[in-house]
Every structure is written in structure tokens, then in C-alpha cells.
């Protein structure tokens, strides 16, 4: 990746316009102390991708083949009204991330969350800064025989498709368990995950899920009508959740050709219980989480389901419960435990991109 003079000029004008005369030269001067010999400065994020605003920060990556120190924590700088976050990374670490991404994409194990969780998306955004960012100073970086953009885009597609699968499963389990608000919240996440995957599938750079609506309005407007029916949750979830969830599932199945029915999904999912146990005190039965120092009382029916779950732990430990081995009551109890943060959902298989059958709505091939 080398310098693109027009892109640098556009970014410079954008920063000067939004931030009252702060120039790229000034920014480079402020972060100069972080550069080692041979380091390149790459700008990425929403300002570079054309949808930032005057309160957006500027993301910089400083990297090179002889970078001495690295930090995954961004170093903040304030220049006038502009906040500049700098990631200082040895090029070897950047290449390691891309290596790991390529291996994860070639593997059929789930990669969900391996490169950033729902809240932060840290590593996904970092890889996109490298792939789609612009070199603002330095000689650029040489990729080791790979196309950064292809890998970074495929990684976001895969991550968001796996999120879509999780959200779809949780929406359906919540619906069955009578948890209407959880059902509609997860249904909306399902369609947003599907659309974030589609935007990346079209080859557009990723800068976090929060920009989805703006991307649909401006850069991927062909997808906007898909989102519109689900943008707002139903006013009365208890009455409308079933219809809302079904509408989302039909839309996402059509977009990606992935079976999102509950029976298909439970076959490759399990619950993992970190430390929950039942304490018996006389006739009382208490569900105990020693790690969180928390207790819940269980009634007789819940105790019976609990014992079924533990005795049916079909893996190496009774702390892993296959969803496919759970009856409806056990699934509901597990969903309730999950909603309280007490058991986690894990997948035994990932979703390989080549196995998808995307419709035209999903956009062009990356």
C-alpha cells in the first residue's frame, strides 16, 4: 500500500473543515514522537471512509518493519477540537492478525467474537484501517503476498454472519420462553447483522456497526428497504413478537440462504456453565454462582429441569449442555439463565462463507 495523493488531500480538507484549521501536518507533528525509523502513518476510520462528522475522532496506525514498541491500547491526543487515537504496532503484529484471520476463514470452527465482540469490534476495525486506510506519511507497507482488503472484508462477513446466526437462535429461543422483549431485540440484531455482512460483502470498509444506517442511506442504498420494516421494535412486543421474528427470519434466510430455523441451529450449539451449582439446604434449593457471589431460589419444577440438564451433560463435563438434547422446558430455563448472564452460548461449527447462497440483496461479490 502506497501514498494516494488525492485521498490525502481529501482527508486534509475534511479535517480542516470539521476541526477549524487543524492540518494533517500539525497532526503528524503531534504524533511524530511515536514513530520509529521506517514507520508509516496510516489513517482510517469514519473520517477517511467518507461518513464521519465534526465530532468523529481520527484513527491513526503507526507501523513499520522495525517498529520497536507496540501497544494495542490506543494513545489519545487532543489537537484543537480533534481527538486523534493512535495505534502503534510492529508490522509483524499486523501480519500476525492477518495470518490469524486467514486461518480462521479457512477453518470451519466458529470464529464468532475472536476478532472483537459486539461492543468493540476492535480487531476487525484495526484490520480494516490497515486494508482500507490511506498512507498519510512514510513509505507504505508491503503485504506478504495477500490482499489485505479481501481478507478484512471476508472476516467481517464471516463474523457478522455468525452473529446473525446467534441472534436468530436467541430470538427464537426467547420467543418460545415467552421473553418477548428479548425476542424482538434479538430479531432486530439478526437483520442488522445480516446487513452489516452484506455491506462488507459489497467491499465497503468497516468502521463499526453503528454506521449501518448511514451506510444504507448513502453507500449501499439498495439494501435500505430490507431494513426499514425492522428499524423500530413493535410497540407491544408481547402481542407482536412472533410476527416480527418471523419476518426477520424470512428476510435473512432469503438474503443469505442459510437455514436459520431453530431445529437447524440447535444441532451445532451448546450452553456452557462456568460455575453455577445447586446448593441444598434442608428443603430449600438455591442456585449459586460462587464467582459472582449471587444466589437465586429455584422452585421444584426448576430443580427438576436443572437435574435433567446436569445429568444430560453429554460432553466431557456436565457443564456443557447440547441444545439439541434439551427439551422445550430446559431450553427455556437455559435461555433465562443466559439472559441473566449465567450460561454462555457456544457454537461447535462456524459458518463458512463458501457455503452461503447469497441472493442479489446481499450485493456484489467481494
Amino acid at each position: 500500500m502506497a501514498k494516494n495523493t488525492k485521498a490525502i488531500k481529501d482527508l486534509g480538507q475534511c479535517v480542516e473543515r470539521f476541526h477549524h484549521g487543524v492540518s494533517l501536518e500539525q497532526i503528524l507533528g503531534e504524533v511524530e514522537y511515536l514513530r520509529d525509523e521506517g514507520d508509516t502513518v496510516i489513517a482510517g476510520g469514519s473520517l477517511v471512509y467518507g461518513f464521519g462528522n465534526h465530532l468523529s475522532d481520527l484513527d491513526l496506525v503507526i507501523t513499520g518493519p522495525t517498529t520497536i514498541e507496540s501497544s494495542r491500547v490506543p494513545i489519545e491526543h487532543f489537537i484543537g477540537s480533534l481527538r486523534v487515537d493512535v495505534w502503534k504496532l510492529a508490522l509483524g503484529l499486523v501480519e500476525d492478525s492477518f495470518d490469524r484471520a486467514e486461518r480462521a476463514l479457512a477453518d470451519d470452527q466458529a470464529l464468532l467474537g475472536s476478532f472483537g465482540d459486539m461492543e468493540h469490534d476492535d480487531e476487525l476495525k484495526l484490520l480494516h484501517r490497515i486494508a482500507f486506510g490511506i498512507v498519510v506519511d512514510g513509505d507504505g507497507i508491503e503485504s506478504q503476498g495477500r490482499d489485505y482488503c479481501t481478507v478484512a472484508s471476508a472476516l467481517v462477513v464471516r463474523e457478522y454472519i455468525e452473529r446473525m446466526r446467534t441472534s436468530a437462535l436467541l430470538a427464537q429461543l426467547a420467543l418460545r420462553a415467552g421473553r418477548a422483549v428479548a425476542a424482538v431485540v434479538n430479531a432486530r440484531l439478526t437483520v442488522e447483522d445480516a446487513l452489516n455482512a452484506a455491506v462488507a460483502y459489497q467491499g465497503l470498509p468497516f468502521s463499526g456497526g453503528k454506521w449501518l444506517g448511514e451506510r444504507l442511506a448513502n453507500q449501499a442504498s439498495d439494501l435500505a428497504p430490507v431494513y426499514e420494516p425492522f428499524r423500530q421494535l413493535p410497540e407491544t412486543p408481547h402481542q407482536e413478537a412472533t410476527q416480527f421474528v418471523q419476518g426477520v427470519l424470512a428476510t435473512c434466510v432469503e438474503m443469505w440462504g442459510l437455514d436459520l430455523g431453530i431445529d437447524a441451529l440447535v444441532s451445532s450449539a451448546n450452553w456452557t456453565n462456568a460455575d453455577l451449582r445447586v446448593a441444598e439446604i434442608g428443603a430449600d434449593r438455591l442456585l449459586l454462582s460462587p464467582g459472582f457471589g449471587a444466589l437465586w431460589s429455584l422452585d421444584e419444577k426448576e430443580i427438576k429441569i436443572w437435574h435433567q440438564l446436569v445429568s444430560a451433560g453429554t460432553r466431557k463435563t456436565d457443564a456443557i449442555w447440547d441444545l439439541s438434547a434439551c427439551d422445550a422446558e430446559a431450553l427455556s430455563m437455559c435461555l433465562c439463565l443466559h439472559e441473566h448472564g449465567l450460561v454462555d452460548l457456544r457454537w461447535t461449527k462456524g459458518v463458512v462463507i463458501d457455503d452461503l447462497r447469497p441472493s442479489l440483496d446481499a450485493g456484489a461479490m467481494i
Binding site: L55, V181, W211, G213, Q232, L233
Partner: protein
């Protein structure tokens, strides 16, 4: 001397997390929503308002009900709303989470009003996103880490963000 009616571990865990949620993510969402409003980015206004509603619901539930642990991001909104039933701020949180059909200015007003009321209940942290607030916020985080360490609980904020003692 006033007794704090909850054990020290739970108090430190819950109050620090509630404060962290409104001190870091919510600050950043507020910055996002103002930027979006001023730039006419209505979609970002709507999305960010949802995040503010959810984060406020979670912070309130943790601070008011001493609820722990906090579930995964996909489940925490419904978890918090259920336990906040009857609380005066439950409905404003739900309306933002659901999504409001209103002009951006009106949505921003509602977010401001909600966060102001949540700050009154949970407490306030210096604005870590500004030059003036950055180091004071980190100093406050360090104080919380000391308390959390003393009671054997993990901190919600990265340990390497704080200054050495």
C-alpha cells in the same frame, strides 16, 4: 455514619460498573449523537439513542438493584428493563431502545434528559473524552480499582489505563 445496605464486594462491583457504563460508553454515545445531529445523520441519531437507552437501563439496574452479573450485550437490554419495571426511568429507557419516530432534535433532548437523571442516581465521572476530563477520569478509575482490589473483585476498566500507585 450511614450503613451501606449491601456487602462490600457487590457494592464495589456494581457501583464501579454502573459508573463506568455512564462514564465511558454513554459519554461516547452522547458525543456520537451530537455529532450526528449536527451533521444531519438521522440514522446515526436513531442508532445511538438506542444504545443510550440500553446503557442507561443497564447502569440503573446495576446501581439501583445491585444486579450482577451483566449478561451478554444481546440480552442485557431486556434483562435490565424487566428488573426496572416500576422504576420511573424504565419507560424512557424502553422508548429509546425500541426506536423513536421523531425529529433528531427531539431524540437528542430525550437522551439528554434521561442521562441527566441517570447521572443523578448513579453518580458522575469526569468526561474522559475531553482534555480536561481525561486524567481526572483515570484518577477516579484508579480509586475504584483500589477498592475493587481490596475486596477481591476485578475492575471493569483496563488496569493498564490507570497510573501506578
Amino acid at each position: 455514619m450511614r450503613t451501606i445496605d449491601v456487602d462490600a464486594r457487590r457494592y464495589a462491583w456494581c457501583r464501579s460498573r454502573a459508573l463506568w457504563i455512564i462514564g465511558m460508553p454513554v459519554r461516547s454515545f452522547i458525543e456520537d449523537i451530537y455529532g450526528a445531529q449536527q451533521a444531519g445523520q438521522e440514522n446515526l441519531v436513531h442508532f445511538t439513542a438506542r444504545r443510550i437507552g440500553e446503557a442507561c437501563a443497564v447502569a440503573l439496574n446495576v446501581a439501583v438493584n445491585y444486579a450482577r452479573p451483566i449478561p451478554s450485550p444481546a440480552m442485557r437490554g431486556s434483562w435490565a428493563l424487566e428488573q426496572l419495571q416500576g422504576h420511573e426511568l424504565c419507560q424512557p429507557c424502553w422508548e429509546l431502545i425500541r426506536g423513536i419516530d421523531a425529529p433528531a432534535d427531539e431524540i437528542v433532548k430525550r437522551c439528554d434528559s434521561l442521562t441527566t437523571r441517570v447521572y443523578e442516581i448513579v453518580g458522575e465521572m469526569p468526561n474522559i473524552l475531553t482534555p480536561d476530563g481525561y486524567f481526572p477520569a483515570i484518577a477516579m478509575a484508579r480509586d475504584w480499582i483500589k477498592l475493587l482490589d481490596a475486596v477481591g473483585e476485578e475492575a471493569p476498566m483496563p488496569y493498564n489505563w490507570t497510573l501506578p500507585t
